[in-house]
């Protein structure tokens, strides 16, 4: 099974890279872009794991390793081929 985890800054944390991208988009005339948040994507291939097991395993991995819970949040989903 494949899962995709998206890690990004919490709303309360300033994201200067996202801000810079937003400013660049405004410079190019994309004035309608109100906000940009930059993040990281991880794809994990899990062997011998049921969807139910993944529901425990993936948050554990995301919380312990992939995200720093002090500044980052995450979402995840199973990728269907």
């Amino acid at each position: 099974m494949k899962v995709r985890i998206l890690v990004s800054f919490k709303d309360s944390v300033l994201d200067p890279q996202g801000q810079t991208v937003k400013n660049a988009l405004h410079t190019l005339g994309y004035d309608g872009v109100r906000e940009v948040r930059q993040g990281k994507v991880f794809e994990l291939e899990l062997a011998g794991v049921s969807e139910e097991d993944a529901g425990k395993l993936v948050p554990e991995i995301a919380h312990k390793v992939l995200a720093n819970p002090i500044i980052e949040k995450y979402t995840w989903q199973v990728i269907k081929d």
Partner: protein, 236 residues
């Protein structure tokens, strides 16, 4: 007294730190390899600057899982002295031995320059040879040094006097333009609740010989030595 300097793949200030402790200050010093499980009887562990594991994932995020760091964590919980410099500070944050996290510098640039930091608390084992308010001229070299802590954690640091260094101007004034990386409260270094684990972003090992432009960094190592000689830990 015996110092141990930890080497991770990607550490690049390990030899400088070793040189200052061993050759400049004349102290027994050994290297500690990140894969080992043995602290080799050291009294003080120094986590040096650099880019452990290439800064992959987040600065310090992978180093915290190395075998030796589990020993360092236990050592710190027993009250052993741990000094984290730059990447070493980032590792201590990721490990949870110090509170908070590092964000990218406010200007999104890698900063490599001399800065001034003010000693905010001279009643620690890492600063007892200095005086409160003393301004130190020490270089920084980092991309992720913009200190952040959730509001309650930050308030706790202030309440318990655990901000040890702040970025200042040459006269010791705390000002927005002296806060080079945008850190919350101009924080350059903090200490843990037990007073035995300190992290700072500037590099005292690069400012410990007049030949290199400043000797101000020595006071941190000399404080640790003085603390050891005095044989007791100062209460914060």
């Amino acid at each position: 007294m015996k110092f141990g300097v930890v080497m991770f793949p990607g550490s690049n200030c390990d030899r400088d730190t070793f040189h200052v402790l061993k050759d400049v200050l004349g102290r027994d010093t050994v290297f500690l390899w990140h894969k080992d499980h043995d602290l080799r009887g050291v009294d003080t562990v120094v986590l040096p600057g650099g880019f452990s594991y290439g800064d992959y994932l987040r600065s310090g995020a992978i180093a915290r899982f190395s075998p030796l760091m589990q020993e360092v964590r236990a050592f710190a919980h027993r009250g052993g002295h741990v000094l984290g410099i730059c990447n070493g500070f980032q590792i201590l944050l990721e490990l949870g031995l110090l509170p908070g996290a590092m964000l990218r510098n406010k200007g999104l640039k890698f900063l490599c320059e001399f800065v001034h930091i003010r000693v905010e608390n001279a009643r620690t084992d890492f600063t007892r040879a200095a005086t409160k308010g003393r301004v130190l001229r020490i270089p920084i070299a980092h991309f992720d040094g913009n200190y952040y802590a959730p509001e309650g954690v930050y308030a706790g640091l202030l309440r318990t006097n655990r901000v040890v260094f702040r970025y200042s101007d040459a006269d010791g004034r705390i000002a927005a333009d002296a806060n080079v990386n945008g850190s919350m409260g101009s924080i350059a270094g903090i200490i843990n609740d037990g007073g035995n684990v300190l992290g700072l972003m500037p590099h005292p090992e690069r400012a410990s010989e007049s030949l290199l432009g400043s000797e101000d960094g020595r006071v941190i190592f000399e404080s640790l030595i003085a603390s050891r000689i005095a044989g007791k830990r100062l209460k914060k």
